[in-house]
Point group: D2
Chain length 342, copies 4
Amino acid sequence: MISVGIIGGTGYTGKYIVKFINEHPNVSDFSIYANKSAGQSLHEVFPDLVSEVENQTVKNAEDLDLSHDVYFFALPHGESFKYVPMLIDAHKKVIDLGADFRLDNAELFLNTYKLDHTSPEFLKSKIYGLAEVADNYESTNLIANPGCYPTAALLSAIPLVKYFGENILSVSTVSYSGISGAGKKASTDLLFAENYNSVKAYNVGTHRHEVEIAQELNKYSNEIDYSLTTHLLPVFSGIYSTTIIHVNENVEQENINSIFNQEYSGKTFIRLRQTPPELKWVIGSNYCDINVKAAKNKIIVTAAIDNLIKGASGQAVQNMNKMYGWDEALGIKIYKEEFQNV
Amino acid sequence: MISVGIIGGTGYTGKYIVKFINEHPNVSDFSIYANKSAGQSLHEVFPDLVSEVENQTVKNAEDLDLSHDVYFFALPHGESFKYVPMLIDAHKKVIDLGADFRLDNAELFLNTYKLDHTSPEFLKSKIYGLAEVADNYESTNLIANPGCYPTAALLSAIPLVKYFGENILSVSTVSYSGISGAGKKASTDLLFAENYNSVKAYNVGTHRHEVEIAQELNKYSNEIDYSLTTHLLPVFSGIYSTTIIHVNENVEQENINSIFNQEYSGKTFIRLRQTPPELKWVIGSNYCDINVKAAKNKIIVTAAIDNLIKGASGQAVQNMNKMYGWDEALGIKIYKEEFQNV
Amino acid sequence: MISVGIIGGTGYTGKYIVKFINEHPNVSDFSIYANKSAGQSLHEVFPDLVSEVENQTVKNAEDLDLSHDVYFFALPHGESFKYVPMLIDAHKKVIDLGADFRLDNAELFLNTYKLDHTSPEFLKSKIYGLAEVADNYESTNLIANPGCYPTAALLSAIPLVKYFGENILSVSTVSYSGISGAGKKASTDLLFAENYNSVKAYNVGTHRHEVEIAQELNKYSNEIDYSLTTHLLPVFSGIYSTTIIHVNENVEQENINSIFNQEYSGKTFIRLRQTPPELKWVIGSNYCDINVKAAKNKIIVTAAIDNLIKGASGQAVQNMNKMYGWDEALGIKIYKEEFQNV
Amino acid sequence: MISVGIIGGTGYTGKYIVKFINEHPNVSDFSIYANKSAGQSLHEVFPDLVSEVENQTVKNAEDLDLSHDVYFFALPHGESFKYVPMLIDAHKKVIDLGADFRLDNAELFLNTYKLDHTSPEFLKSKIYGLAEVADNYESTNLIANPGCYPTAALLSAIPLVKYFGENILSVSTVSYSGISGAGKKASTDLLFAENYNSVKAYNVGTHRHEVEIAQELNKYSNEIDYSLTTHLLPVFSGIYSTTIIHVNENVEQENINSIFNQEYSGKTFIRLRQTPPELKWVIGSNYCDINVKAAKNKIIVTAAIDNLIKGASGQAVQNMNKMYGWDEALGIKIYKEEFQNV
């Protein structure tokens, strides 16, 4: 049984970390740290969880100590790298849901986030925790949890980039995200009245997740010509990700199917679909539902995730499970047998 | 361990029965019967459950046999009373989510549903399964599961009708229901394009649930002047129920609070709130969240439930638990301890 | 041809005032005053109007002068009464969309808005501009434009209060409003992510509009026992208003119909419906659609308006038309003939 | 003054044709033909138009005669080509909102719609009515009104295909459409409960509009490698269209801007934006709002239209105006002067 610290745990993502950790069979206790809501009761912060989670007081991030075994960070970028070195030095496990450790070198981080990285050595030693693809979990105590758009886009594109390599002409992802992805900020841009019955693209050509995705794709094939275009979708949560890959040959549906079947065989949280997924199929779950369609010299991959779960907190807990060598679904997915002994 | 039959289990309500029954620790197996989708696979009917529920073929309702211990019926009115006598004769337990057994006598049933009741004797022997109010579960094998609107309205009004009795001048409930309440019917009235960005009242002054609620309230005080007005709300699920009670005296907030605290003390699925509930707090759960507000000689009770769960399938499983003398939350609410032994 | 000043014209209500005034055939020019967005261009504030309205710079409210004939105020309460005396003294026409002049005496204003009224004499001389009910427009230069909830509730209840008078036992209105009603404020309560897929009651038993409605109803019959319960509806605009009236006699549908037919005969913007209105029928228009249903000793009136139009800006322009003795629909409703001479 | 016949005028598109034609200054009268709702009153079909449009009885399509000057067809494919030859022979003007005349040859029509074209000669003589691009309107009496997706996609891509020609590597459009685009069909797929809080791609790799767009793009540059992926968006109306164009050179923002400025200079219904458009900016209007963004060797064009207006009925009326040589905005956009003479 382990003890867990959750830093920045009172936003939309935080709620699901709390929920999963609270129900996790191998977690004995947890504490929440969050400056903005420090001193509030957890029941006040999450009124729908009052019957599920014991009330506790949200602590100030400054009071973070070494009493826990695992630390989840869900903070804006530039925050978690202040805490991580101390924790890693103390042989703690850290899962960072923010962007601080996702990129592989300090220069790229500076260019992308306009910020000097204060712990660049950890950029190398961390694992980029795309849970169905990453391995070698025993080698590290630091996981950079992937961004929400990258999770869906990479799970869609990696099998094809691995297979087609330099025969790929272009890879374009067009993604729509529920508005929880922008966080719980008092901004008029995020008002109900501004977003209902509407849609808009944002950060076109400049989204930081494009850099993250390109970095990972280029590990499988050099010089992928990649484009990510992100949109706000008028729903609470969920990402719908459509990736169009142009290749310089005709493509067979059967062939594509078998590439994906092989890549994701035995992966609990990937569900390959024979039709394009519906976003509602994955909302509230850690699944990534994927459909692949060959159309002459193009391949269209549609993927759906819950941005707050598979795109954040669910994958983070999945990563914790993998760090400990437990079943990756522990505490995330309910198996019938789990109830048998009540 | 028991075996469960679910008849009419492929609609919106059915999905949650399947989900709860599938995860229920005391259920060994279940079968689904549904004429419209007979022969289809369960995974085809509920694509979001493919990783949760073993695939099985939906059976024809005609093939219903006596192999199960408990039978859930989720059929249009006038259907379940064809099957129930046979099952009760065979000492099976039956929970009817439809309207066939909710009213207490055949004449009222005829007036309300324009249909002759073929098993009127069961109208007397059944229990009206408003789970927080009903008792004497050991006396019967037939539960009439309350309607969705009545569940929220009765949990709001009963404590006050009991207390104020003949001092009540009028009781008016105005309810808004998510559109799943109308079922999965191919009707233009239920199209997305017809209901998005809109609201409408329906069955004003003639809703059958008004009769059901009045019947139950009148058990606590004669001649309650009751009115229910129902509306379609442009969300998938959930009922928001606002009940205004005019009484002939001034009312103290503290007094009202203590009436509700006493009435619902120890009830797992009632959460008394200090502010009006938000519908999202209860979606996906079996909770009924309630707030009571005294305003001079008026009391306003706001209550929120998920119409498909507390208003249907969740309460049905809660009723099954009570019939067997189990914890009423078994299979519906996840307790941390349930996971400990994995 | 007249000149119009719009003070506080850059919120959700403001947009429609601008639109109507811009298209109004008898308006030669208009200016916008709004402290928060002073200095911005109108096209920046209302990007969807860039092709409809000439660009102009939003002025500071301090620069308000006497150059206009009519002034529309759309400010929080406690603001417009600072400007109104000066304008009325200068024989200008004023239409106040805020609450400052709606109540009839300073004491009620103080109790309701917790603010001393600095121009109480105007509370008497103003007209409460419920356009289908008010008359004597030539007697005043100051119109208090009704609140959004009161517009729908009063148009629903007044005909019945006039007719049934002391035979009325209770009047209860339950209203749901689109979220634009709360204004364009950077508040987490109003975020998309907080309100999507949800509903909540607010200000239960304490809403200021309840006082306003009761004041007006009591002009037709003393001691109406009135209750207003307000809710946030997850749409942009629109109010759906359900009023339940318990009377001490049985009521005939035919009788009720003829009361409403008579009351609203010849009123352009009232549409009496044979079924409950759908909210979408009135969105974007100045109509109030009403259905009345008799149910034994109860009458249920459902009414739908666009809160930003009939509940604010549209009715304000309608009031301006009535002050000038023009067709009340001028600039609000498009008649075919208006286009004939292009 | 002309007379107009509208065939298939009672669906979602039909409502806007009726509205525009009813308010059009040069139209004296119109009739509606629609088999499904023949015999119904127009007020029954469109309850929100009861105060705008004189009531008339919907006629049976079989009763279509030669009494009108212009005929709008809004029928499923394979229907309008039964009527068109007769009307064209009689020197009537025809605007077909369906797909029957959009493609340029019978073979492509057969491959795409699996139907033999019975009037292939008109495929050549018609004009493809993309109103900002088409010319030579005096040469024909038959306009094929573009599909909704093609309208947004072609207005986005044509300027760039003209300019970059063979330097283009790939063009991919990802479009999201409001659900009204699927029509008013009693199908469970289109239910509110199925589409709320969800999104899905459909007809991936096989959408007929892809063929239509490719046909038009190839008029500017051979062998464009084009892909269209379409999705259902949970709103009533609107199309958001994101087109990613990979070229084999680096692209300057300034250059791209000037290409679009030149192409659409003086076009009433194109609004070039400096940020990606928001869908709500165009809902209810005939505008196409466009933003173009250069990102190294990629260009991302976002465009928003109302699928029922610029994507159907509005563009159809715009085409009628152009056929008669009138201002293209007549009856569609309100100019201040139109009201002056009332």
